[in-house]
């Protein structure tokens, strides 16, 4: 292409261009790829021939797989699967056995997601039960049955008890050591035990992660996003990562760190999806097909994390998946359904739901309340932006400074500080899920927290719970909650990114719930003291409880989570599945939208995209717009006047090819007709070339360095000493011309999931 001749052909007539188009670029297989729906018998024969050739690939181990930290070639993998599928369809008529095999192939996708759903549900149940038991271990023990947490221990005390007369079976640590339940000494002992257990759990988690599976740390969603977009990270979804992530997650949640289990749940489900897909060669050996299973698994992960199957499917669609055909949507739906069903049957929290903070609401809201809801959205967006900025700053500092060299020490220090400042404040001391439950809940009879210390009038029977003046308990609780908000925000900034499994859904939900509850109590008291002003339009004057602070907490939680992750649709669906009330969709939507706008205005990226950018993963975001106005010729490698490493169709020897492989580091090489006329024949991957040559050296007798390498698929020349490589040659590479605008090229990469494209000029290969 760099020959002066090529420069001469630049201004050519259409007629000449057409002549150039009829060069070997268009080949038989090209049309084959183009018409996947053909079913005529002639083409089926042709496919079978091709596929038997493809099956021969099994001779060369590793073809169709990728190296670590490489991107996959969606087009090639999908084409491979289509070939395989057509082969099976054709064989189905041959015998009964082939028919069974074909049927098995057809339903294997559904079986695979079924297994993934079942396993995800079971693992989520194990995590929920284990974490709730271990969390309560920080406070005390149930000596008669050590496997019960506090709630379960006091399950069936068949007596009438009062608020503070706790059940006798559960012993707090001071009681275990013979102290009384209350008093200064008991407080000190409890405090010490709390810190000690937190440190033990965190140290175990951090060292297990460091020892067995470093990939198990963090939330995993940025990496899952990258993997689903077609990147290979070996071992990221492996067995050890799964085991350590599960165990480490139980430990780190129990240690009282400001983190949640929801993000890692997506990673765990994806690990299960990856491992189980190896049972079905259709998925296990085809990276592009495997990502369909992984998408479904991610949906199942969110489904069990929040007990929200539809929310999980939408999360997979909106947030993590890259390639999401309709077939995957249905499989995700099925997978999420199965997972939620299994978790629900395990019933880990004893509340008939799969999350601890399930609430049920049936209160109307009035139109005026949209204003505080939108205000909550704005507050949530601001909190989220502060969080993202601070967290990214801290993570960058960790990445580039000495701090990153002490991962375990860092975990221990963060745990120590968290435990020290969490214990005195009852709202940070308790499990974050319980805090969210408390904040979401309505103040009823069963709620004995100071947060519900209202001046209720019990004598009037006709109204269930009427609005009431707040008593000092509520104001005290608000003070503590403000403190908790600041502390939790700070702790979460330092926690997200340490080297233990940690997610941030729960902390951000908690932050938002705290802010929302405070605003909600404010509005409620406003309505109590001035029930007649026009904004309440008379609806609050009847004495009914017209403002529900718990609803504000919910909206606030949605706002912060929406601001942090920039989800909208899936977030609203998750929240309304959590509350079981369809009537709050509008408030949630308003808050999520406001929060997203504020977040987008203040900082462009959500936390996951920011982490992807921080780590430099090759992720081509489909939401970004491409602004440059360059041409393909400007950005292609090599540049205009460098030479291009090419392989010729049939005139190179094995030695030549190996020298080329040694001297250059490209991922693949275009195959051209000859050095002089560089008409494109196809494209061959470096990895495939390496494997094929190594394999041929092992198996093919009489192969020397001087043997010619033949890519032409037609006539293998006589004599055994040539190396035919037509089978690893991709004869239908995606090509663009050098005048293609860059927007189009980026669009092609995004929509087709390309790995590389060849730039041609009149059929001459340039890159």
């Amino acid at each position: 292409m760099n020959s002066p001749v090529e420069e001469d052909i630049v201004d050519i007539t259409p007629g000449l261009q057409q002549a150039a188009d009829t060069t070997p670029t268009s080949h038989g297989t090209f049309q084959l790829y183009e018409h996947p729906g053909r079913t005529s018998s002639a083409s089926a024969n042709w496919d079978a021939v091709i596929f038997s050739g493809m099956q021969g690939d099994d001779d060369i181990p590793g073809i169709g797989q990728y190296d670590d930290f490489h991107t996959i070639d969606w087009q090639r993998d999908i084409a491979r699967d289509r070939m395989r599928h057509r082969y099976i369809v054709k064989k189905r008529q041959d015998s009964l056995w082939d028919l069974i095999k074909g049927a098995h192939d057809a339903w294997s996708g559904w079986v695979c997601v079924l297994l993934v759903g079942v396993c995800t549900g079971v693992v989520a149940g194990v995590i929920d039960i284990g974490a709730s038991w271990m969390t309560d271990l920080k406070f005390g023990i149930c000596p008669q049955a050590f496997w019960f947490n506090r709630e379960q221990c006091c399950w069936s005390s068949n007596e009438t008890t009062f608020d503070h007369g706790n059940c006798s079976q559960w012993l707090t640590w001071p009681q275990v050591f013979g102290e009384s339940r209350d008093g200064a000494g008991a407080y000190v002992i409890s405090y010490l035990f709390y810190i000690a257990w937190a440190l033990v759990f965190a140290a175990l988690s951090a060292s297990l992660v460091r020892m067995f599976a470093p990939y198990a740390c963090g939330s995993g969603i940025p990496e899952i996003k990258t993997i689903l977009s077609g990147f290979i990270i070996r071992g990221y979804l492996g067995k050890w990562t799964l085991i350590i992530k599960v165990v480490g997650l139980i430990l780190s949640v129990s240690s009282g760190l400001s983190l949640g289990k929801e993000g890692p749940m997506v990673h765990i489900a994806s690990c299960l999806g990856n491992i189980l897909s190896y049972l079905f060669p259709k998925y296990g050996r085809n990276e592009a097909k495997k990502r369909e299973i992984l998408s479904a698994a991610a949906a199942a992960g969110v489904s069990v994390a929040f007990g929200a199957p539809i929310g999980g499917v939408l999360f997979s669609l909106e947030e993590v998946s890259y390639y999401f055909p309709l077939k995957t949507l249905w499989r995700s739906f099925f997978c999420a359904l199965i997972a939620a069903f299994i978790l629900r049957s395990i019933n880990p929290f004893g509340n008939e739901h799969s999350v601890l903070f399930f609430v049920e609401y049936n209160k109307p809201w009035i139109f005026f309340e949209l204003i505080p809801f939108v205000a909550l959205g704005i507050i949530g967006g601001c909190i989220a932006t502060i969080f993202i900025k601070a967290n990214i700053f801290w993570c960058r500092y960790r990445k580039h400074s000495k701090l990153g060299q002490y991962p375990v020490t860092e975990v221990l220090i963060v745990t120590l500080v968290t435990a020290l400042i969490s214990y005195p404040n009852p709202y940070t001391r308790m499990n974050t899920s319980q805090l969210i439950y408390l904040l979401f809940n309505q103040c009823g009879i069963s709620n004995s927290d100071p947060l519900c210390d209202y001046d209720r009038n019990f004598t009037d029977v006709n109204s269930a719970i009427e609005k009431a003046a707040a008593r000092p308990g509520v104001y005290g609780a608000i003070g503590l909650l403000c403190l908790a908000l600041v502390l939790k925000l700070a702790m979460t900034v330092f926690t997200f990114g340490i080297k233990v499994p940690c997610g941030l859904f729960i902390p951000s939900l908690a932050l938002g719930a705290i802010a929302g509850r405070i605003v909600g109590i404010g509005v409620e008291q406003l309505a109590y003291h001035y029930p007649k002003i026009w904004i309440f339009s008379g609806e609050c004057s009847t004495g009914d409880d017209c403002i529900t602070p718990g609803l504000y907490a919910m909206v606030g939680a949605a706002a912060v989570l929406g601001g942090v992750t920039r989800m909208t649709v899936s977030l609203v669906v998750i929240m309304f599945e959590l509350t079981g009330g369809v009537r709050y969709i509008v408030p949630l939507m308003a808050a999520a939208m406001a929060s997203k706008w504020v977040g987008d205005a203040l900082g462009r990226q959500g936390i996951y995209d920011a982490h992807i950018a921080l780590n430099g993963y090759p992720f081509l975001d489909s939401k970004d717009e491409f602004q440059h106005t360059s041409l393909a010729a400007d950005v292609m490698q090599p540049k205009r006047n460098e030479t291009l490493a090419v392989i010729t169709q049939d005139s190179m020897t094995v030695d030549d090819v190996e020298t080329l492989l040694k001297e250059t580091e490209h991922n693949g090489y275009p195959v051209v007709v000859s050095k002089e006329s560089q008409y494109l024949v196809g494209f061959v991957l470096r990895r495939d070339l390496n494997l094929a040559i190594a394999n041929a050296r092992r198996t093919l007798a009489g192969l020397t360095g001087q043997s010619p390498v033949v890519f032409g698929g037609t006539a293998p020349p006589a004599g055994a000493a040539s190396l035919p490589l037509s089978r690893i040659l991709d004869m239908a590479p995606i090509t663009v011309t050098d005048q293609t605008p860059m927007e189009t090229v980026v669009d092609m990469f995004r929509k087709l999931g390309l790995r590389q494209t060849l730039v041609t000029h009149n059929g001459w290969c340039k890159d």
Partner: protein, 188 residues
């Protein structure tokens, strides 16, 4: 012999203590304000009452749980008292909880022991074995895994294969550790 008796005793104690408990899987829980707070509003004592009873789900309400017990106290004023109570029917599965917690403890213990083994003993053993151990070069591919390991299965024994797998795994973990802890290219 003595050890056997101790183990036997311990297990029987465990079984007895477990089976002796009356851990039911179903309950009905009601929470009510104290009758005093309901009937004369001036005395706002904060003592709620929790009632737990083992009744069928359709009896899980004020009439079924509270009146049989404290009926005398609120006689004739049920209409006022009962709407203040919240009753919830709950169930759980104690066996699943027990099994899961014990499995979790076991897995954590196993992992800790294995970690201790890898930290303390393994370097000593490896030092001796290093001399006789031959490095396999063509193992970085997952798909070639089946080939060599089968051949090895013919030649060597199971132990060899396990060691081989373990070394491969260790190499992977070392690589992961390098990516995360040293080079900081991932998961920050």
């Amino acid at each position: 012999m003595l050890l056997k008796y101790i183990v036997l005793c311990l297990t029987t104690i465990c079984i007895v203590s477990v089976s002796g408990q009356s851990y039911e899987d179903k309950r009905c829980k009601c929470v009510c304000p104290s009758p005093a707070a309901v009937f004369n509003s001036s005395a706002t004592t904060d003592h709620r009452r929790h009632y737990i009873a083992n009744v069928p789900p359709n009896k899980c309400n004020c009439e079924g749980v509270i009146l049989p017990r404290d009926g005398a106290e609120i006689k004739g004023r049920e209409q006022e008292f009962c709407p203040r109570c919240e009753c919830k029917y709950e169930n759980r599965n104690t066996t699943i909880i027990k099994v899961v917690v014990i499995i979790v403890i076991w897995v954590i213990m196993l992992l800790v022991v294995y970690m201790g083994f890898l930290i303390c003993l393994d370097p000593l053993i490896n030092k001796r074995a290093k001399a006789s151990y031959q490095e396999h070069t063509n193992e970085d591919d997952e798909s070639t895994l089946s080939g060599p390991s089968q051949q090895m299965g013919l030649r060597g024994n199971v132990l060899n294969r396990v060691t081989h797998q373990q070394d491969k795994w260790k190499k992977q973990v070392r690589e992961q550790r390098r990516n995360i802890y040293d080079r900081h290219t991932m998961l920050n």
